[in-house]
């Protein structure tokens, strides 16, 4: 990666800000404003010639993070050999002190006079049109899985530590030794899936890279040390990429033994410090015991620790495994749900270098296309504010998953239409009907409800279905010819969050025996996390119905994905069973309980809205 980083650093159209952190992002597609903290380096990178004289005299010795703690560094150091810019950094947390100067030796020996103890963090701002999120990954820390003895036995190391030990630029200059006696080990064991595919520790996903990394390591060892024996303990070897199977076969031909089964117990011989591994070989069904000089834990990858912060800055959401959620898993795997934001690499999902490079290229291409177009097309389903009806409460801004509504206390909110995706959550939240979602207005939806329930409402199950998942789930049930009761009547909204309390109550007022609100599963929400507002709303409605003496069971909530035709049909059967239990008297009582106040209120509000919308686009 070194030469690539140098190319980036020298490119006339790329400004490389290293040792910097994004503090805030505001704006929207094409008009982002990014606030960046340039951390104090205390060394001028323009002047420093990396002569290393400062590090030679520095008295502070600390574990080197880049060498996984297997080597040491000084308080003034180059983070890693190919760092760009190739300049020293003074870590103030490690330095003996500069106010007053406790040591000052580095500055004394620096002929370039590039060390400045008064250097301070700097906040800079940049205007950008698109953002590519490429924040990488963290590696699983196996200390919590003490079954493998990582915290107890020195000769149990992780795959990352192995990389440093075998690397020519590592702490042992590439001479592979084991930590306890600094002798070259003869028998190495590799344990796969440490921190991956393990639901018990909350990491059920496959880390994607560990199998091939271990296969590569076994080939490397076989090449460097032909007398060494390698054994790999695995659940499944996932060698699915181009030439991967070939590598796997070469590893086996080179003498690596692959045993299907993960170790159950690991002990250390107190004399030799060798490791005794007990494992059930699931291929033979026998319990085996193996002795190794060293054991390498093939650790999985985890979402980077900064993911939550970036998620907040760019209004992104996460999948259940903690990585960023893409706009669409198949059709828009590069795009974030927030327009103008793209993903590259691990932060979206575990992937190898090749896939990361592909995704990075695609992200660059997508953002290039966006910026070169100079203009964007917005769907005609965005929202707008009716100022005459607005009470300036700001509720709309607080629920917008895209941050597309700008509001300050005492001011009218403003919808940034370029950022609005059209979920309609704001419109359903607004108590004063001051937000209109184009083509999915309250009036239009209420009119649909009334029309559907105008005739024999007691025979119908009223369904609100979101455009992307549950409506498509209904389609799937249809095209799959799955039978389900024909009593349901569906009103489509873009998101389940568009369904307001008033719409549900209007359906009951019109005589609906059962109302079903359905949307995407949590992980599939097409509007980041708008359907969480649906849950809150339905929860409030259940409580309200209870208070009004209406059975809350008559309001149902279901998450149905586009592929779940079977589930759609099953839910329709279930709600039909519920419908049969609702009597005419119960419906009449419900209508009576809901009749008075809300209707008057809505009439007044809609009159206000109609009046205001005459003068609004």
């Amino acid at each position: 990666m070194g030469p690539k980083a140098i190319d980036v650093g020298r490119h006339p159209n790329i400004e490389l800000l290293t040792y910097s952190e994004v503090e805030a992002v505001s704006g929207y597609v094409g008009n982002f404003s990014v606030k960046i903290r340039k951390k104090a380096r205390y060394v001028d990178p323009e002047v420093c010639n990396s002569c290393n004289e400062c590090a030679k005299v520095c008295p502070v010795v600390k574990p080197d993070e880049y060498q996984m703690g297997l080597g040491s560094r000084k308080a003034i150091y180059i983070p890693y050999p190919q760092a760009v810019p190739c300049s020293y950094i003074l870590n103030m947390d490690d330095c003996l002190g500069t106010t007053p100067i406790a040591c000052g030796k580095c500055a004394d020996v620096c002929e370039q006079e590039c060390i400045d103890y008064d250097d301070r963090d700097e906040i800079i701002e940049r205007d950008v049109g698109a953002v590519i999120v490429a924040i990488g990954l963290d590696v699983y820390d196996p200390t919590e899985l003490d079954d493998y003895g990582y915290t107890r036995f020195e000769n149990v190391i992780t795959s990352m530590e192995f990389e440093r030990l075998i690397c020519a630029g590592g702490p042992t200059a590439g001479h592979f030794i084991r930590p306890t006696d600094r002798e070259r080990p003869k028998r190495i064991g590799f344990v796969q899936c440490v921190g991956s595919r393990n639901a018990a520790i909350g990491r059920p996903y496959c880390s994607n890279i560990c199998c091939m990394n271990t296969i590569k390591d076994t080939l490397l060892l076989a090449d460097h040390y032909p007398d060494l024996t390698n054994t790999v303990f695995y659940q499944d070897i996932r060698a699915f990429g181009k030439s991967f199977e070939d590598m796997f076969q070469r590893s086996k031909e080179a003498g690596t033994r692959y045993i299907r089964g993960l170790p159950g117990d690991i002990e250390e011989d107190p004399l030799t410090r060798n490791l005794l591994v007990t494992v059930e070989n699931t291929t033979t069904g026998k319990l085996e015991r193996h002795e190794f000089d060293m054991l390498v834990l093939s650790v999985g990858v985890i979402p980077p620790k900064d993911l939550a912060k970036i998620s907040g800055l760019l209004t992104l959401s996460k999948t259940s495994d903690g990585f960023f959620l893409e706009s669409h898993p198949k059709l828009k795997p590069i795009d974030a749900p927030t327009r103008g934001v793209y993903f590259a690499g691990f932060c979206e999902s575990p992937k190898d270098i090749k896939d990361s490079v592909c995704q990075a290229g695609a992200a660059a291409s997508r953002s290039g296309a966006l910026l070169n177009a100079g203009q964007i097309t917005v769907e005609a389903i965005t929202s707008y504010i009716i100022e005459d009806a607005c009470t300036k409460c700001g509720a709309c801004a607080s629920v917008c998953p895209y941050g597309a509504i700008i509001w300050e206390k005492g001011q009218f909110p403003v919808v940034v239409e370029a950022a609005c995706a059209g979920c309609g959550c704001c419109g359903a939240t607004c108590k004063s009907n001051a937000i209109v979602m184009r083509h999915f207005t309250d009036e239009q939806l209420i009119a649909q409800i009334r029309a559907i329930l105008a005739d024999k409402p007691e025979d119908k199950v009223f369904v609100f279905a979101c455009n992307w998942c549950s409506y498509a789930g209904g389609d799937m049930a249809g095209i799959s010819r799955i039978h389900y009761p024909s009593t349901n009547r569906v009103v489509r909204t873009m998101c389940s969050a568009r369904v307001s309390e008033d719409m549900v109550l209007e359906a009951f007022r019109c005589g609906a025996p059962i109302v079903l609100v359905s949307g995407c599963h949590y992980a599939d929400c097409h509007y980041i996390n708008a359907n969480r507002q649906t849950v809150k709303r339905v929860q409030r409605l259940w409580n309200k119905l209870d208070r009004l003496g209406i059975r809350p069971e008559r309001l149902q909530l279901e998450w149905i994905s586009a592929a779940e035709g079977q589930k759609f049909a099953k839910v329709m059967v279930q709600v039909e069973e519920l419908r049969k239990k609702v009597t005419k008297e119960e419906i009449e009582q419900t209508i009576k309980a809901l009749q008075e106040k809300p209707k008057k209120q809505r009439k007044a509000k809609s009159a206000k809205q109609t009046e205001a919308s005459v003068s609004t686009p």
Partner: protein, 55 residues
């Protein structure tokens, strides 16, 4: 701090308890019928940011 709280399935009526973590973002499903109509029974009437309340 994780706390056990009561839930009721509005589809089949099954009542159950589940740990709830502050700020969790979890899709709930009935352990009996797999429905998502899960009512949080101990939810107090609290005004949220939207100004809407249970009461």
């Amino acid at each position: 701090m994780t706390k056990k709280e009561s839930f009721r399935c509005m589809m089949c009526g099954y009542e159950f308890e589940e740990p709830v973590e502050p700020g969790e973002d979890k899709e709930r499903t009935c352990p009996m019928c797999r429905s998502n109509s899960i009512r949080h029974m101990k939810k107090r009437a609290v005004k949220d940011k939207t100004g809407e309340s249970d009461e």
